[in-house]
């Protein structure tokens, strides 16, 4: 009997399909890693997304991503051409919306220091997709948190599709066979993205009430829209 991908996905998630596993993949592999594997003998075709998927036997993982702006939707964000071949999007750290406008602060032959879409000051290689060096984060204390959390307002215009009911109807019609997906993340992880690992770890001791407040604000912001997804918009 053929089952839909949604049924398979839900079955795996509910531990009802022993032996079945969903392996996601190629988009999570750094281009540099693929290049290195080619040097080490892998076929050059692994640089191609679809070949890579087949080669490593990843599952295609089709899904319907709900169009709620949680701050991670690179496919809906605005891309800025910063010159020197550098392009950066205004998405960054969920569920901040709107994101920050990226801009270059300084550069040398190999690297740029810039503000990224998450409002972080980062140093990156010009010709590489490697993870950048994080130099400064937008949240440092209570005052900067107060400013930053304005971007977590679930009612910000543009966060949700204009006609929610029509959108829900559309999903129900078009995505019957697919899992419905929403980009959300963990409480520690996003606080780290806003504040930086070491400052956050110190903050757990220096001002635990602020950490708690940040987690509460994140939860109340709709956790990237999950409340809306499960309960129906922001009502």
């Amino acid at each position: 009997m053929t089952i839909t991908f949604r049924e398979r996905y839900l079955g795996v998630c509910h531990f009802e399909r022993p032996g079945d596993l969903l392996l996601s993949g190629p988009n999570l592999i750094w281009v540099e890693a693929l290049r290195e594997w080619v040097k080490q003998g892998a076929p050059e075709e692994i640089m191609n997304f679809f070949f890579c998927q087949q080669y490593f036997q990843f599952d295609p993982l089709p899904r319907w991503l709900v169009e709620i702006r949680s701050g991670l939707e690179w496919w809906r964000g605005k891309v800025y051409d910063l010159g020197h071949g550098i392009r950066a999007g205004d998405w960054g750290t969920a569920p901040a919306y709107p994101g920050f406008v990226p801009k270059i602060l300084e550069e040398d032959e190999r690297t740029v220091v810039m503000i990224d879409g998450g409002g972080r000051k980062v140093k990156s290689f010009k010709q590489s997709e490697k993870m950048p060096m994080f130099l400064e984060y937008p949240v440092k204390d209570r005052a900067s948190w107060k400013e930053y959390k304005k971007r977590l307002d679930p009612a910000t215009p543009g966060r949700y599709p204009d006609d929610w009911d029509a959108y829900v109807w559309q999903i129900n019609e078009q995505a019957k066979e697919l899992p419905i997906s929403l980009q959300v993340g963990g409480f520690f992880g996003y606080l780290r993205e806003w504040m930086g690992l070491e400052p956050l770890l110190y903050m757990f001791y220096d001002d635990p009430a602020l950490v708690e407040e940040m987690m509460d604000d994140y939860a109340l912001s709709g956790n990237g829209g999950s409340q809306a997804g499960s309960q129906g918009h922001q009502d």
Partner: protein, 215 residues
């Protein structure tokens, strides 16, 4: 009356910087030498904490606040150090530490540097994206006993052999020990590239550096 050395050591382990500063101040006024407070209170405190970290009794945040508490204590002591005390502060040896070229990650490298410094090593941090030439220059200029290389990416740790080769060409390989670390680095990889030292976390790095100093 509680022994101030024990109080300070425990305060370091608890990351209680206020208690460290207060008790160091009281002890100094009572005539306890700064060197004794360093060697018999602050350093044992951070070492005990390092052991707890290796045994998974405490976690990274506790290590961070303990190092911070210790550093605050050292700052209080500094004006009271004799020239001899100042030398003793970093008597374990000199470590040149950096993240290899092509890699901008610094958290792990910073933690290892902090722990080494807190445990009596003179740490020369050459930063991130460090070329072989920069490692070599820093090793020469500072008379390094150990060169410590960090890398977080499978694609950048392949640069470590370039640094090793450079140290050989510069005639330094016999004089310095090399240790490596970073998420994708293993003892097997360290063996493959021919280095003596490997550590998988900041507390083990202190043990490894001490072991290398005796080789």
């Amino acid at each position: 009356m509680t022994d101030p050395l024990i109080t300070i050591s425990e305060a370091v382990q608890n990351g209680d910087q206020e208690q460290v500063i207060k008790t160091v101040g009281v002890a100094l006024k009572a005539g306890v030498p700064a060197s004794a407070l360093l060697e018999k209170a602050l350093v044992p405190g951070i070492r005990a904490l390092g052991e707890k970290f290796k045994n998974e009794e405490v976690f990274l945040p506790e290590v961070l606040i303990a190092i911070r508490a210790m550093n605050r204590g050292v700052e209080e002591l500094k004006p009271h150090f004799t020239a001899e005390d100042a030398k003793k502060q970093y008597k374990e040896g000199t470590v040149v530490i950096g993240t290899v070229e092509g890699d901008l990650h610094d958290i792990g490298k910073n933690l290892v540097g902090m722990m080494l410094r807190a445990n009596g090593f003179n740490v020369v941090d050459v930063g991130v994206d460090v070329s072989a030439d920069s490692f070599i220059s820093a090793a020469k200029e500072n008379g390094a006993d150990v060169v410590a290389m960090s890398g977080l990416l499978t694609t950048t740790i392949t640069y470590m052999p370039t640094v090793i080769e450079g140290l050989k060409k510069a005639g330094l390989r016999d004089r310095v020990k090399i240790m490596v670390g970073g998420a994708p680095v293993t003892r097997q990889y360290a063996d493959e590239i021919g280095v003596e030292g490997f550590a998988e976390d900041c507390a083990s790095a202190v043990d490894e550096a001490r072991r290398l100093m005796k080789l």
